[in-house]
Symmetry: C2
Subunit: 420 residues, 2 copies
């Protein structure tokens, strides 16, 4: 079917034509659709049965232009392909932690998927100090499974290249390359920052050592095709409740450094941690919640490292180094050291990437609601100053990092300097 | 035209049908073809005018099977595409140093190119101690231009991804991954080595530290899509004379670590250096030639480093870090340090990859004529022992290498232990 923009009426007619949906939306009921989401890049519809509302799906359709600007700003609709294909891989490798994809139709730029109506986006409940006791276990399982099973440790050489070719994603990668690693650190008209931080922002943009380190991290981002990464895994791309965690919106997916996704999650928890210096007026409540956040960070990394290593030991099926390569006296020890070195290198990358991402949120175009929702400029400036100093340290000290406890200690050390 | 295997008769008829060749092989002459090459993977014809023999081309056609085995060993004919597309890029970026591609026809798996009949393959004249005084300058220019201009330092983000997608080359990459980095270092039935080296070969295959280091280098080979590399740039892939140097046969080309090509050239000169301990009976002649080889190695690296840095300063056109990123007080210094760090990292990679490649030539399936032509097993064993010890040091000491002089010093140090 040739591309045609759907609306709340035509979407229902359209779904009736899709064989894959016969059992999901049987024709013994009528269905209604409502549009949700900001609809800037995509149309998003909730479709639900009138008599059996438990029969429900989300329909996502990519628009060929940025709606807020209008048809003058054309955009490739390919992003729905990258998003859907990544979700299907998640469905296969980490089915508990992703919405089910029921159907896709790339001519129409449409994907039909599970309606996560029992889950909420993670960002806001973190600001209201909600705790999700299973989250660290869930997200570390998701990360370990997806990142391991799309790497050369698990895939054959040819499978890996085929995956890489499928996820070239040049348009959206270019956005992240510019807006995460480059533009925030130089003069660029879209940059936005708190004017009370002019001095510090200037200092960062003139810090040669820091900028060299960030540019090396950018090279990794561009070149190191380690695993299929989500590449935008902030707390707005996670939907959850007390029992379940789901990763959504992987339209930026490509084969890049695996630490990027881990860093994104951890760094968003650090930003949330920082925001509570203002959001949480009650000191006791604040400290308890900040402690919970740091424990969550610790559990995410340690959980990831342990699960990843176990997967590797049990499924060393890739062509990188087959078990026979390690078949010699003391070979088991050497393999264990190789694995440890590998995971330690991921942790150093988490530090560097996490730090870079903290900085870009303060200096660049894309802010984060946890912080931007602090209305008092002066209070926000203090929190932002903490984040900038912390981000810089995570970048510059990355090569000394050997445990998550060190990253947490640096965070607490910088937090002590905050006097609000 | 559907695929059909050419012979010395049909190739002439075929060429007449090709519009691109009208001016190169005009129809006012008759042409004859002869087949050259081992014809194992490809048919290679020389076509020449009967009256004007200066009108001549090489016609290369990929076979769909390994001829020495027969039709039972099918092979993808895609390699002619990779070879031809890489040569066309060489024609554009380093035209002096590659044969001109006149025509290609991928349905027929055919490429038509310049006949390098004034040049010879480099390997044998190196064994007979011939000197090529312009070689270091030529090959370093070739390497600097191709490696710089296919990297993110020169290309836009999207151009780079398009190039990467074009050169996925999964079949031939898999061969190099296995036969350079993995199989020589474990038990594999195709491995061949001098039985007089059993002890040392066993030692290498049980050296955990070495194997960890080599496996990390393999990760780089697999993941680090830095530049378009030839990926098989030994002295058998170079044709030259005193005035000119031409790089041929880039069918393994893909986007990988740029040090790989530099290491291949340098490492082949080291193997040749080693071979003269037996090939050159006259000590004075031997020492003079070995000195020439080491000077050539020095000039290749230093020439490459200088030319690469100059290109970068003059054409920092890529998206990796635009000039405006370095536009701050002391930004020029920071950019210079970033470039230096980058080039130093390439040198460390040269050490590691060069060492790995020395080892694989001694332990794996692919030997090298400079050494294999030494008939006396005992004499060859001594030379091979030197190469193995040297290769191991280049790998294990790579992180301490900051100048080519250090690699040369290690080579001379190991050579002193040789008593023939």
């Amino acid at each position: 079917m040739a591309y045609k923009e759907l609306d709340t009426k035509s979407v229902i007619e359209y779904l009736k034509t899709r064989p894959a949906l016969v059992d999901i939306l049987p024709d013994d009921d009528e269905y209604k659709a409502s549009e949700i989401g900001d609809g800037n890049l995509n149309m998003v519809f909730i479709v639900q049965g009138k008599n059996k509302p438990e029969r429900t799906v989300i329909v996502k359709q990519a628009l060929p232009y940025l709606r807020v600007v209008g048809e003058s700003w054309p955009l490739t609709r390919d992003r729905i392909i990258y998003e859907t294909e990544a979700l299907k891989i998640y469905n296969e490798l980490a089915p508990e932690f992703s919405p089910i994809v029921y159907d896709n139709d790339y001519e129409m730029s449409v994907a039909v998927m599970e309606n996560l109506n029992k889950h909420e986006i993670m960002r806001k409940p973190l600001v209201s100090r909600e705790q999700f006791p299973r989250f660290a276990d869930h997200i570390s399982s998701f990360l370990a499974n997806v990142l391991f099973k799309t790497s050369d440790l698990y895939l054959s050489s040819k499978e890996k290249k085929a995956l890489q070719k499928k996820f070239m994603n040049p348009e959206l990668r270019k956005l992240q390359e510019d807006f995460v690693y480059t533009n925030p650190f130089m003069e660029a008209e879209e940059n936005e920052w708190n004017p009370l931080l002019d001095d510090l922002v200037k200092e960062i943009r003139s810090d040669g050592e820091l900028k060299i380190a960030i540019n090396k991290l950018k090279m990794d981002y561009v070149l190191k095709a380690q695993s299929l990464i989500h590449a935008d895994l902030h707390t707005g791309s996670i939907m959850l409740n007390k029992e379940e965690t789901k990763v959504i919106d992987p339209e930026f997916a490509f084969l890049g450094p695996m630490a990027y996704d881990i860093a994104a999650v951890i760094q968003n928890l650090v930003l949330n941690y920082a925001s509570h210096f203002v959001h949480s007026k009650n000191k006791e409540e604040r400290e308890a919640y900040q402690k919970y956040l740091l424990e969550t960070i610790r559990d995410i990394w340690n959980g990831f490292a342990k699960k990843f290593d176990t997967l590797w030991q049990e499924h060393n099926d890739g062509d990188l180094s087959p078990n026979s390569y390690w078949d010699f006296e003391d070979g088991e020890k050497a393999f264990a050291r190789f694995r440890q070195d590998y995971i330690q290198a991921v942790l150093r990358d988490v530090s560097g990437i996490g730090g870079t991402k903290m900085l870009r949120r303060m200096l660049g175009i894309v802010s984060v609601w946890d912080i931007s929702s602090i209305e008092d400029d002066a209070a926000r400036a203090q929190v932002e100053r903490f984040i900038i100093n912390l981000g810089r340290r995570w970048v510059l000290e990355k090569d000394e990092i050997t445990s998550i406890d060190q990253l947490i200690a640096i965070t607490e050390e910088e937090a002590k300097k905050l006097e609000l």
